[in-house]
């Protein structure tokens, strides 16, 4: 048990002592948890997000899963702002999974802010009007003469009541009609736009935060699971008597593949969360079942197993690129302006083949799940209680129904903080395993994946290739663009992240463009990986545009702005469509803040890239040093972002910093390869993550346009790779068309 517990208010009291730049040690009070829990029972609910205690503590529920994106802090800030609460009085708790009450409780696609901002505002405003209504009754004054601020309602006379004093009566006020709610003028904001430390930082920093892997359920057994090393295979037999005889092991058994769980209402999850065939071991502690796992000898049936080979994929892609063609998505095949411009003798043309690898998510918390399946006796229904970190915990109910036939009302899901998501925890294959093991063994089990399980059984960022052709005219203008995407699909469905999104520059902004694709068959599981599609398309397109600027002898910024053309919204009113004016603004800002155009010393270079995705316009300039031995460092990255008004400045900068580090780590170091269907990287010694020493200085600038606030978990990542390779070109004259850089002979230091 933890020795102490602090709540936010104690922390903030302590923090306020720490002003003046000198940080004083904070004094911890004795446990207040029990008192808090008692107080909650008495608290008054104004709506499903807001409760107020008579002592003035305001509880705001966060309904969106937290994986480090900061949503548990940002959305409650919006409610507190509209209520007129003081942030110091707010305690944030996770809402239970109840999508009838809260709507979709999911995190993905950088959509949590745009999807929920208006609701949060409405909930805050509604609570505020109920408090004002209560104050009008208690003080016997007109509502119009009342104002809520600093967790109090003030009358024009100066008289006031605290939210705590008003809580009981406020909860009995009629819920206001949303149509008549009014909202704060953003210029009067005191919480939105400020710098707030995340609400869980105290429990995290003291080791008290509970992740899925930390769950401890009475009577539970610990489990490991070993899947066929080639996806699609299944276990025939294993050294069962040896394994069962090992100390600490209570049982071991084979599970057959089961694709019933793959049925999913969400299109991008369809077919994903299937149970793979393998061998389960259960025992008294994690170590015993992991040690036993190492001693497993399994005979596998490979008749339906993957034969994917990265070597073969690379060879096939080069052959397809050389043959040309493909399904035309934009422009015309055959004798159109693109071919004529490419063949025009007065033009300079260029052809380039780009490649990007499969990469893994490697969330720091390996996949895990605790499941307690109970067979109903005496005609009672079966039940399932389950604990996990999930980006879409509602999915778990769907899986339980499809795979085990447990009715959704009999499934209790505990969604815990995630030790990283990045798209991986949108897919619940690990939950199917824990459910199946508990179902088979008739005990609650905690399944923990090893890091090797986590890498081998990932839903990877899909690899791929693009063959690029373009021409520039004698006066240095982009005259034609021909983009051939060579990617992957499953026999029966598309592969998330493979292909073009249709939003890409330059083809959305020019006439003489053709885009085509050829998709090869794939067996290796792939899924959403932070900014799917965008994270590789940005590399190809923004590198190739730089190549063309160089071919034309033009300045990159000037060439990019010219392609962008006059300020216009490609689809007016649609935040998911490129706005060339906002694009130009971030490009100019990043260029100016980075000192674009200055003379660089030998071995140093500046590189620019822009990308639009997730409703965000982002430009980045990387400053690199490349040494004679091909070691290189990224010294600084200047970032300009337009995602509308910022809610939590600290959280927003955090997401950008994280995206830069993640983008650099991935493009410099990471590749997953497979041969004969077997994933070849086993653990971090073969799949590195960037370490602290390589971290660049990161300079973040926001353009807070009057567009709605949108999400920032993903869109700062895609421009990083091309910004770095463009900078390396500027420093060395060497063009990099394939990631990771470690395979191109460059070592990040």
């Amino acid at each position: 048990m933890s020795r102490f517990t602090l709540n936010r208010r104690d922390l903030l009291k302590a923090s306020s002592l720490a002003g003046g730049g000198l940080l004083l040690q904070m004094t911890l009070p004795t446990s207040v948890l029990a008192a808090e829990e008692r107080a909650l029972v008495r608290s008054k609910e104004l709506n499903v997000y807001v409760e107020i205690n008579p002592d003035g503590q305001i509880t705001i529920y966060s309904s969106i899963p937290e994986m480090g994106q900061g949503i548990k802090t940002a959305l409650p800030m919006v409610i507190a702002e509209e209520m007129g609460a003081r942030w110091e009085d707010v305690k944030v708790l996770e809402a239970p999974l109840d999508q009838k009450k809260y709507g979709l409780q999911g995190a993905g696609g950088s959509t949590s802010i745009p999807r929920n901002f208006d609701t949060m505002r409405r909930m805050g405003a509604s609570a505020r009007e109920m408090l004002i209504g209560a104050a009008a009754l208690l003080m016997e004054v007109e509502r119009e003469d009342l104002e809520a601020r600093e967790s109090q309602v003030f009358h024009t006379s100066g008289e006031s009541r605290t939210f705590g004093q008003l809580a009981a009566l406020a909860a009995e006020q009629p819920v206001p009609d949303p149509e008549y709610l009014t909202y704060k003028d953003p210029r009067a904001y005191t919480i939105i736009g400020t710098t707030v430390s995340s609400v869980d930082n105290l429990v995290i920093s003291t080791g008290q935060s509970k992740f899925g892997i930390d769950v401890d359920v009475p009577g539970m057994q610990y489990a490991s699971y070993t899947r066929c090393p080639r996806v699609g295979g299944k276990a025939v037999s294993f050294n069962a008597s040896d394994i069962k005889a090992l100390p600490g092991v209570t049982d071991a058994f084979i599970l057959q593949p089961d694709d019933r769980a793959g049925k999913a209402a969400m299109v991008f999850l369809e077919g994903m969360a299937v149970l793979r065939g393998g061998v389960a071991i259960i025992g008294e502690d994690t170590w015993s079942v992991l040690d036993a796992k190492r001693q497993l000898q399994v005979e596998w049936d490979y008749s339906d197993a993957s034969e994917d080979s990265w070597t073969q994929m690379m060879a096939d892609a080069k052959r397809i690129a050389a043959a040309g063609g493909g399904e035309v998505l934009l422009g015309e095949d055959g004798d159109d302006g693109v071919d004529a411009a490419l063949a025009d003798a007065s033009h300079q043309s260029l052809e380039a083949f780009y490649q990007f690898p499969y990469v893994a998510h490697v969330c720091m918390e390996p996949m895990n799940c605790t499941a307690d399946f109970r067979k109903g006796s005496n005609g009672e229904a079966d039940t399932l209680e389950i604990w996990l970190g999930s980006q879409f915990p509602g999915q778990v109910k769907e899986i339980a129904q499809n795979m085990l036939g447990v009715a959704p009302q009999n499934v209790k899901v505990h969604a815990l903080r995630m030790g990283g998501g990045f798209g991986r925890r949108a897919i619940h294959d690990f939950a199917t395993e824990a459910m199946a093991i508990s179902h088979h063994a008739d005990v609650p089990v905690k399944l923990t994946w090893t890091r090797t399980d986590d890498i081998h059984n990932d839903f990877f960022r899909v690899g791929g290739f693009q063959n690029m052709r373009a021409a520039v005219s004698a006066d240095g203008k982009l005259a034609a663009w021909d983009q051939h995407y060579i990617g992957f699909k499953y026999p029966d469905r598309f592969t998330v992240g493979s292909g073009l999104r249709g939003n890409e520059l330059p083809f959305v902004a020019m006439d003489n463009a053709r885009v085509s694709q050829t998709m090869m068959d794939l067996a290796t599981p792939c899924g959403a990986w932070r900014a799917p599609g965008s994270n590789t398309n940005a590399f190809v397109e923004q590198s190739f545009i730089h190549e063309l600027a160089e071919l034309a002898g033009r300045d990159h910024v000037e060439f990019l702005l010219e392609i962008m053309g006059s300020p216009r919204w490609v689809k007016p009113g649609d935040v998911n469509a490129l706005n060339t004016g906002r694009a130009a603004d971030v490009i100019k800002l990043a260029a100016s803040k980075s000192g674009w155009g200055r003379q660089m010393p030998a071995g140093k270079g500046l590189g620019l890239a822009f990308y639009f995705c997730h409703a965000a316009h982002v430009a980045e300039v990387a400053e690199v040093t490349v040494n004679a031995d091909r070691t290189f460092s990224v010294d600084k990255v200047t970032v300009a972002v337009d995602v509308g008004p910022i809610i939590n400045r600290s959280g927003a900068i955090s997401q950008v910093q994280g995206s830069i580090v993640d983008g650099l780590s991935t493009m410099a170091l990471q590749i997953i390869t497979m041969e004969g269907g077997v994933i070849e990287q086993d653990n971090f010694h073969e799949y590195e993550v960037m370490r602290i020493a390589a971290t660049p200085e990161i300079d973040v600038h926001f353009i807070e346009s009057d567009n709605p606030s949108t999400g920032l978990g993903e869109p700062a990542l895609p421009p990083l790779a091309p910004a770095v390779t463009n900078a390396i070109y500027a420093a060395t004259g060497e063009r990099i068309r394939s990631m990771p850089l470690s395979d191109e002979g460059f070592k990040l230091v």
Partner: protein
């Protein structure tokens, strides 16, 4: 199975486990101290960093039979009801994102501060080289360690005075 006596965060414990069981799993599964995290099992990521007699070790590869000294985990870092300067700095600088690696980061940094009063960026890079952060909080980790060093030294000299 064998009996082992362990001192963890100032408390003595007796555990009856396989001598090869790494300290990590003794802490997590037997003593229910889950602040120390599993990340790789091969001492590559640092999520499991704890102190043995003040020195940072990777608990995922240290067999319980080889533990020779008093163990301190993240749960025991705050002493006498006061947050360690690093924990306060982690909050002040809003370091964590997902938070999973941060116990290991803080434990590595705490060993650095105990050894070096005013660590440079290079000292921090070296001391934390064994700790992955997949969310990329490294910029803030550096800042927080520098700022904690000031508070840590001030507290130390105050106690000494």
């Amino acid at each position: 199975m064998s009996q082992f006596k362990l001192t963890v965060n100032g408390q003595s414990h007796e555990v009856d486990v396989n001598p090869n069981m790494p300290l990590l799993w003794v802490l997590r599964d037997k003593l229910k101290l889950t602040g120390t995290k599993y990340g790789c099992g091969i001492a590559q990521c640092g999520a499991c960093t704890v102190h043995v007699d003040g020195a940072p070790v990777r608990a995922c590869v240290l067999p319980v039979s080889a533990v020779a000294g008093a163990v301190t985990t993240i749960e025991g870092l705050a002493a006498d009801g006061e947050l360690h300067a690093l924990q306060a700095a982690w909050i002040e600088h809003d370091v964590p994102q997902c938070g999973y690696c941060q116990a290991g980061q803080i434990m590595s940094a705490a060993a650095l501060l105990a050894a070096k009063a005013e660590p440079s960026d290079a000292d921090i890079d070296t001391a934390l080289a064994g700790n992955y952060c997949r969310c990329g909080t490294y910029v803030r980790i550096r800042k927080a360690v520098h700022s904690a060093a000031i508070a840590y030294n001030a507290a130390k000299s105050a106690k000494g005075a």
